[in-house]
């Protein structure tokens, strides 16, 4: 044995006598894990308990006195308008789900597996509504397709055609919901279509089936899990949505579950707050049940599909002479659903009156944007939203990374429950999330410093967006081999050190993606703010919601365009620096 390596450069391992020191160090790592776990559970799960408390207490929790009661539930269930709202929500969600699933699945097959002309362009236009703030599109729909809207009026004035659906009815609301939900279905199904082995279709071809027949008899049936998945998901999301029914249901007084809760909170007495909490619990239970069923059926693939651009090397099915008529049909549908509303919102923001009776070119103006810039509340909400999205997004990204590491890369005993806790907020409708934090702040923060601040609002937004970020971050973390941090451990690094210097360092690109997603989502979020916003802390999403619900006109459109431009700018920057397309 000729020792070519002079030993003794590095210190030797510890002597046996240092075992006490070791166990203390081990204990401190574990203690850190416990603290993280406890805080995470308090913030993620705790607030819901506060809603339950508010629902079961006779007086609002911020008042003294009161007692345990079931009266709030009795009042809720005895209210006929509540039951009408539940019925409306079911009708609305059912129509929206059926139409978006049909449209989404057809599009997934047509745009990914056939030689339809311009399919890349069509795909790009189709998924646009997922990227943009939802309310902006609704404003665009109102400006163009409402009974008094630009295109509807134009058609009536100049052609024999009419737009067959009244936008201010349940059917019209469902149509608007479809334009946003169908791309979600499309993205989920497209992933499956792309992952299906084309040799399965080839086998059908060699058995004698024509190309279209093979597509319909092999690929489409294989889509069933993806269809089930998106059906349940879309139903749950549409059932809870607030902005759309609030804006479109206003004129004909159509109440859904979400608008019922909103209305009773904003316009009701403080005594009604318990009833609203009870209703929120119902909404939470129903949406959670749907999503639990979905997880059972298809596994947990994420409520928010995070799909990166992926090129397909599949052989395309030749549509033959049908390709041009089908392309024209697809383009027509997209013009109605996406292009016209978007053009409409931009046009009404740039004109003083947007009407077919007057040439838009004669009424071009920048007044609408000046009105936005001059309005201190609106500008404040832009600044506040940017603050929340930037600071909150950064903090939330770091927290998500940290929690994911403890949940997936440690030996911590409770890591399983932490994984569950991180998935939990995706079950929470935005309204419930906001209310949960409202009551939690009432219970835990009697000084009200947090509730009235941007921090409180940011916290609620962050919890609501946690699932988006986690869905984007976790796959990247899972792709980083476990060996890499184990190698750091055996090299002499403790758990925290190995996480920070290896795993976290390697997941920086994933954290950046996660940040972009959180930024966009927190920038535009509105529902939780209903319960948390104060005069000093307006945010863009809620301001937009309140404006759109009560007024129309150029200034609202201009505000929407500003919101849209900010979102697109961030996504484009993300694309530029991260080199991939991000779909939230």
């Amino acid at each position: 044995m000729t020792a070519a390596v002079p030993a003794g450069v590095g210190p030797r391992g510890p002597a046996p006598g240092r075992a006490g020191l070791l166990s203390r160090r081990l204990a401190s790592t574990t203690a850190g894990h416990y603290v993280i776990w406890a805080v995470a559970l308090l913030v993620l799960v705790g607030p819901v308990l506060a809603v339950a408390a508010a629902a079961l207490w006779s007086t609002p929790l911020y008042e003294s006195g009161g007692h345990l009661t079931l009266d709030n539930f009795r009042d809720l269930l005895g209210d006929p308008t509540w039951w009408r709202a539940v019925g409306n929500s079911f009708v609305f969600a059912t129509i929206s789900t059926l139409s978006s699933v049909t449209l989404g699945v057809v599009a997934a097959v047509l745009l990914t597996r056939t030689n339809l002309p311009f399919r890349r362009l069509l795909t790009g236009v189709f998924v646009l509504p997922v990227l943009l703030p939802g309310l902006v599109l609704v404003v665009g729909w109102m400006a163009t397709w409402a009974p008094s809207g630009y295109v509807t009026s134009w058609l009536e004035l100049n052609t024999v055609l009419t737009f067959p659906i009244d936008l201010y009815s349940l059917g019209g609301m469902a149509l608007v919901a479809t334009s946003v939900a169908a791309p979600t279905v499309f993205l989920l199904c497209r992933t499956t279509v792309l992952s299906i082995d084309s040799s399965l279709e080839d086998a059908a071809r060699s058995a004698g089936a024509g190309p279209v027949r093979a597509l319909l008899s092999v690929t489409v049936p294989l889509l069933r899990p993806a269809i089930t998945n998106s059906t349940l998901l879309v139903f749950a999301v549409v059932f809870e949505v607030l902005g759309l029914p609030l804006i479109l249901g206003f004129s004909k007084n159509i109440t859904l579950v979400s608008t019922y809760l909103y209305d009773h909170w904003i316009n009701g007495t403080s005594a009604e707050q318990g009833v609203v909490a009870a209703g929120a619990l119902f909404l939470l239970a129903f949406v959670s049940a749907l999503l639990v069923v979905r997880n059972r059926v298809v596994g947990d693939t994420g409520r928010f599909a995070t799909v990166m651009g992926k090129s397909s090397a599949k052989r395309l099915v030749d549509l033959g002479p049908w390709r041009w008529p089908l392309a024209a049909l697809a383009a027509g549908v997209l013009v109605v659903l996406v292009v016209v509303p978007l053009v409409g919102v931009v046009a009404s923001s740039l004109t003083s009156i947007f009407s077919p009776l007057i040439s838009p070119w004669s009424v071009l103006t920048s007044d609408n944007f000046e009105a936005v810039l001059d309005n201190p509340v609106w500008m404040d909400s832009v600044v506040n939203s940017l603050l929340i999205a930037t600071v909150g997004g950064l903090v939330a990204t770091v927290v998500i990374a940290l929690l994911s590491l403890v949940a997936h890369r440690s030996e911590f005993r409770m890591r399983g429950s932490l994984q569950q806790a991180m998935l939990w907020p995706r079950m929470m409708p935005g309204l419930v999330c906001g209310m949960a934090f409202f009551w939690a702040f009432v219970l835990l923060d009697p000084t009200d410093t947090l509730r009235g601040s941007l921090w409180g609002l940011g916290l609620a937004f962050a919890v609501r967006s946690l699932a988006v970020g986690y869905s984007a971050f976790y796959p990247a973390l899972a792709a980083i081999g476990r060996d890499l941090d184990l190698a750091a451990r055996v090299s002499g690094a403790g758990w925290w050190r190995s996480m920070i210097s290896i795993s976290l360092r390697l997941s920086i690109p994933a954290m950046a993606t996660c940040f972009v997603l959180l930024f966009v989502s927190m920038l535009n979020d509105s529902d939780p703010a209903v319960f948390l916003v104060t005069d000093e802390t307006p945010v863009m999403g809620l301001t937009m919601l309140q404006l759109a619900a009560t007024s129309t006109g150029g200034a609202v459109a201009a505000f929407g365009v500003i919101q849209m431009l900010l979102t697109v700018a961030v996504l484009a920057l993300g694309r530029l620096f991260l080199g991939k397309r991000i779909h939230a």
């Binding site: 044995m1 390596v5 450069v9 391992g13 055996v490 090299s491 690094a493 403790g494």
Partner: protein, 358 residues
């Protein structure tokens, strides 16, 4: 360098016991190999030594330093001072070769100057001198593996642990890497535990081999012992190729004479079968002697067999012959002109007799 002692190591996942009270002792400076099929517990053993997987019971000591003892002592991996080369190499992609190798030294607060010297020294040792500034993706698979090895040797470690380090290399490179690592290990003299499922690797590199199967030790010995005197049929079958014949020792008869169905005379075996009754006879293809023109008289265990197939495999010929109810594989270095029949000699000391299982 300390030796390694493991006593009574046990581990189960739920009801599935992957290690049954395993004992092991690797001597100072030895290259000790854990060999077995996948799922035999060899990796679990290695992870237990490294501290990356706590076993349920048992005791692990490096020299007189106890690193694990029935959960009363469980030194975390970062304090065990092992060097580990992972199957995937686990070379950190965001660090240069220098920083990868220097990482353990940095954690041990070695000064920058000393660290650079040491890194250069270790890289020289693994023949990667001059590549300090490269990133892992700029290196070939073989070079990455040597970076992993350099990193494992940098501290320097008390114990070197290798987890199937060659499995990601192509065949030619693997053979070179094997010889090279063996020479390096002997030069440094670090006690090394090597995990593999590849018998050629195990035979060519090890001082001693421990053959494992389903969480139990089948045999510990030098490569020659393992190959020529396998302790049981599993070891004989797992290492190299072996012909197995079903035999029988009549009650009260001489246990060195084993009857095989279809043979007139019993076969002479040395050493004798361990028990009366059913027996299994194992003989390596290359130990069977072929007598093209008949065996000399008085040669024991001469049999005449039918040739079923012949194959030329480059460096040897392979014959499949029929002996009674059994097929035998025979290897020869030269081609044998034969008719339909062939005369074979099965030397008694080439036959290992085992008690039939179950």
């Amino acid at each position: 360098m300390p030796d390694l002692t493991i006593t009574g190591l046990a581990k189960s996942f739920g009801d599935n016991a992957v290690l049954h009270d395993l004992d092991l002792r690797a001597e100072d400076g030895e290259l000790f190999t854990l060999l077995g099929p996948s799922g035999c517990g060899k990796s679990t053993t290695l992870w237990s030594i490294a501290g990356l997987h706590p076993p349920d019971r048992g005791r692990i000591a490096f020299g007189d330093r106890v690193v694990f003892d029935d959960r009363r002592v469980d030194v975390p991996p970062e304090k065990r001072n092992c060097g580990v080369v992972f199957q995937s190499y686990a070379v950190w992609p965001h660090l240069t070769v220098h920083d990868n190798v220097g990482y353990p030294l940095k954690l041990r607060k070695v000064s920058r100057r000393e660290r650079s010297e040491r890194v250069a020294e270790v890289l020289e040792l693994v023949e990667l001198g001059g590549l300090e500034g490269r990133y892992p993706h700029e290196l070939s698979g073989g070079q990455q593996q040597r970076v992993a090895l350099a990193r494992a040797l940098a501290h320097p470690p008390d114990l070197l642990l290798l987890d199937e380090p060659f499995s990601n290399l192509d065949a030619k490179l693997r053979e070179r890497a094997r010889d090279w690592l063996r020479i390096l290990q002997q030069r440094i003299g670090v006690t090394t535990v090597f995990v593999t499922h590849d018998q050629d690797e195990a035979l060519s590199m090890s001082d001693r081999i421990m053959v494992m199967d389903r969480g139990r030790v089948r045999q510990v010995g030098t490569p020659e012992e393992i190959y020529h005197q396998p302790a049981d049929e599993f070891v004989a079958d797992f290492i190299g190729t072996v012909n197995v014949l079903d035999g029988h020792v009549a009650p009260g008869a001489d246990r060195s004479r084993v009857r095989v169905e279809g043979l007139g005379e019993p076969l002479l075996v040395s050493p004798p079968a361990p028990a009366e009754g059913a027996a299994r006879l194992a003989i390596r293809p290359e130990r069977i002697v072929v007598h093209p023109s008949g065996a000399p008289a008085a040669t024991p265990n001469v049999v005449t067999v039918k040739v079923r197939s012949t194959a030329f495999l480059g460096d040897h010929y392979r014959y499949v012959v029929v002996l009674g109810d059994h097929e035998l594989v025979v290897r020869t270095l030269t081609r044998i002109d034969h008719g339909t029949e062939l005369t074979l000699e099965l030397p008694p000391d080439a036959i290992r007799a085992y008690a039939a299982r179950g």
